[in-house]
C-alpha cells in the first residue's frame, strides 16, 4: 500500500512547487485538451518533449514518474490485444492461424498508449508539485463564479480537502489494523472462502468504526474552533499570481495552439 505514487505530493523546492495552484490547474487543463487533439506523432512528440522538460524543472525523479505509470501496463496490454482483433485498417503485417495483424492496429494502440502516458505525466506533475490543500484551495477559487448559481463551492472544496487529508491517515490505519489482525493469525492469502470472508471482515469492521469515530471527532474539533457551515470565512492563505504563473499559463496555451496548428496544417 505504501507503493502508490499516483497522486502523491513530493515535498521539494522547484519552480513548479512555488507556482500558484490556479495556474497549474489551468495549465493542466490546456495540456489535457492538447493531448486529446489527434495531431499524430508529431503533436505527441511536441507535448512529450515539453513535459519531459517540465519534469526536469520540477526536480522530480524520473523513477517516480515511471512508477506512477506502472499500474497502466496492464491496461495497455489489454488495449493492444483488443485492438489486434478489432482494427482492420492499414496494410496486413502478419497473419497466422486466426490472427491478422494490421498496421492500423499497431498505430491505433500506440496512439492510445502514448495518450495515456502523457495524461499520467500531466496529472503527476500537478499532484506531485502541489500540496493537496493548495490544490483544493485553487479549485475553490476557480469554481468561484459558480457560487452565483448557488453551487456550494466552499462546501465542495472543504469536502474534497478533508477527503484528501485523510487518505494517508486511513492508509496508515489500515496498515495498523492489518498488522494487528495478522498477529492474531489472520491470513488473507490462504484459507477457505469462509475464513477469507472472516479475515476481510476483521479488517473492514474496525476501519468503519474508526472512520465514524474520526469523522465525529473532526466535526467536534472543527466546531470547537468556530467552523460553521455556510458562514462567511476569511482566508489565512492568499493566492497571488507571479510572473512565473503567467509564463506557465501562456506556455501551456501556446502548446495547445501549436498542436491545433499541427492538426490543421500538417496532418490533413
Amino acid at each position: 500500500m505504501k507503493n502508490i505514487t499516483l497522486g502523491q505530493y513530493i515535498p521539494l523546492d522547484s519552480f513548479f512547487h512555488r507556482l500558484d495552484p490556479r495556474s497549474k490547474i489551468c495549465a493542466m487543463v490546456a495540456m489535457m485538451i492538447a493531448v486529446f487533439i489527434p495531431a499524430g506523432f508529431i503533436g505527441y512528440a511536441l507535448i512529450g518533449a515539453i513535459l519531459i522538460m517540465c519534469v526536469f524543472i520540477s526536480r522530480l525523479q524520473v523513477d517516480f514518474i515511471i512508477k506512477a505509470m506502472k499500474p497502466m501496463i496492464f491496461m495497455m496490454i489489454f488495449l493492444f490485444v483488443v485492438n489486434i482483433f478489432v482494427v482492420k485498417s492499414g496494410t496486413l503485417l502478419v497473419s497466422f492461424w486466426i490472427f491478422n495483424i494490421y498496421s492500423g492496429a499497431i498505430i491505433e494502440t500506440l496512439y492510445i498508449v502514448i495518450r495515456l502516458l502523457l495524461m499520467i505525466m500531466i496529472t503527476t506533475l500537478l499532484t506531485a508539485t502541489t500540496k493537496p490543500m493548495d490544490l483544493t484551495l485553487g479549485l475553490e477559487h476557480l469554481m468561484g463564479p459558480l457560487e452565483k448559481i448557488k453551487v456550494p463551492t466552499h462546501d465542495i472544496a472543504m469536502m474534497v480537502a478533508l477527503a484528501l487529508r485523510f487518505i494517508p491517515t486511513l492508509i496508515e490505519e489500515a496498515d495498523r489494523i492489518l498488522k494487528a489482525q495478522a498477529s492474531r493469525g489472520v491470513d488473507l492469502e490462504n484459507g477457505t472462502l469462509r475464513e477469507k470472508i472472516n479475515a476481510i471482515l476483521s479488517l473492514i469492521v474496525p476501519m468503519f468504526v474508526s472512520c465514524f469515530q474520526r469523522a465525529d471527532d473532526l466535526a467536534d474539533a472543527m466546531e470547537a474552533r468556530g467552523y460553521a457551515v455556510g458562514a462567511p470565512r476569511v482566508r489565512y492563505k492568499k493566492l497571488a499570481f507571479t510572473a512565473g504563473d503567467y509564463i506557465v499559463i501562456i506556455g501551456a496555451n501556446l502548446v495547445l495552439l501549436a498542436v491545433i496548428a499541427i492538426k490543421i496544417w500538417v496532418i490533413k
Binding site: K2, A182, S183, R184, G185, S202
Partner: protein, 284 residues
C-alpha cells in the same frame, strides 16, 4: 526459547523519496523468562523493533532469530503463521482491532485462527477474559459498548487466549488510569512469573520499569543505546541522562538523600525497602 537480533537494520519505504532508516545495526539478545522493558524517546524505533518479532516487518539488513525461526533480510519467511502462534503481540492502541459482535467471539478469534476448535477457543477465551478482569455478565456484549480501558483489556485477552510463549506489549498502559495501569502491570508480571513467559514491554512509564521489569533496553534514534539490569540502570545517573529519561520518584528521592549526606545501597528500589533501610539507620 530465545530472541536474538543480529546486525538488524530496518528502512521504511526503501528506494523512495520517503525512505527512512528507523533501526540501525541492532545487536540484541533477550533471555528467556525475563520481563524486559524497551524504552526510548518518541520515534526512537521501539514499535519498529517489536514488529520484527512476529514477522510483521522484515529486516532490510541482518536477521532476527526467535526460537528456531530465523528471519533474514530480503527473504520471505514461509512459516510465518507458526511464528505468530508463539509470539503474541499487543499493539499500541489495541482497542481498535475489535470487530466481532460479542466480546467472547472476538477473544476466541485468535485461537481459532491458529487451529483451536470452537469449544477449545471459547474455553480459552473465558479464561483469558477472567484473567484481565472482564466479568462473565459482559461476555455477550458488543465490544463497541465498552469504555476505552475495557476495550484494551479485551484486546489483551484476545492475545493471551492464543497462549503465546513470548508476549510483546507495545505501550499497553498508555491512556489508562493509574490504578488500572498498575493492575495491568501486575497481570503481566504474574504471567511472566507463573508461566515462565518471556515478556517484552514498550513503555514510557519509568515507575513501571522500576517496579516490574528485570531488564531494560534503551533505544535512541534507531540505535541500541544500552541493555542492562534495572538496578544498574537506575543507579547510574549518566545512563539516565544519556537515555533522556526522568528518573522515577524513588530514584529522585534517593538522590536527594544522598545530597543531604545519606547514602543508601543501589538495590533499594521500592518504598518498603527504602523505609526499612532508613528506619534501620536511625534505630542504630
Amino acid at each position: 526459547m530465545s530472541i536474538c537480533f543480529e546486525k538488524l537494520s530496518h528502512e521504511y519505504s526503501p528506494g523512495t523519496p520517503f525512505a527512512f532508516l528507523a533501526l540501525k545495526d541492532i545487536n540484541l539478545t533477550f533471555a528467556e523468562g525475563k520481563m524486559t522493558a524497551i524504552i526510548g524517546a518518541t520515534g526512537s524505533g521501539k514499535t519498529t523493533l517489536v514488529q520484527h518479532l512476529n514477522g510483521l516487518l522484515l529486516p532490510t539488513e541482518g536477521r532476527v532469530t526467535v526460537n528456531d525461526h530465523v528471519i533474514e533480510a530480503g527473504k520471505k519467511y514461509p512459516k510465518i503463521k507458526d511464528l505468530r502462534k508463539g509470539v503474541g503481540l499487543v499493539f499500541q492502541f489495541a482497542e481498535n482491532q475489535l470487530f466481532e459482535e460479542t466480546i467472547i467471539k472476538d477473544v476466541s478469534f485468535g485461537p481459532k485462527n491458529f487451529g483451536a476448535t470452537e469449544e477449545e477457543a471459547r474455553e480459552r477465551a473465558v479464561r483469558s477474559l477472567k484473567i484481565v478482569g472482564i466479568t462473565e455478565d459482559m461476555f455477550e456484549k458488543s465490544p463497541l459498548e465498552l469504555s476505552g480501558g475495557q476495550k484494551r483489556r479485551v484486546a489483551i485477552a484476545g492475545i493471551l487466549a492464543m497462549r503465546p510463549r513470548i508476549l510483546v506489549l507495545d505501550e499497553p498502559t498508555a491512556g489508562l488510569d493509574p490504578q488500572g495501569a498498575a493492575n495491568m502491570m501486575e497481570l503481566f508480571k504474574r504471567i511472566n512469573k507463573e508461566n515462565g513467559i518471556t515478556v517484552l514491554i514498550v513503555t514510557h512509564n519509568m515507575e513501571h520499569v522500576l517496579d516490574y521489569c528485570d531488564e531494560v533496553v534503551v533505544l535512541g534514534k534507531g540505535r541500541l543505546l544500552m541493555q542492562t539490569d534495572i538496578s544498574t540502570f537506575f543507579e547510574n545517573e549518566e545512563y539516565m541522562k544519556k537515555a533522556g529519561i526522568d528518573p522515577p520518584s524513588i530514584v529522585r528521592f534517593k538522590r536527594f538523600l544522598k545530597e543531604k549526606g545519606l547514602e543508601l545501597p543501589a538495590d533499594v528500589l521500592s518504598i518498603e525497602e527504602l523505609a526499612a533501610e532508613i528506619a534501620g539507620r536511625y534505630r542504630r
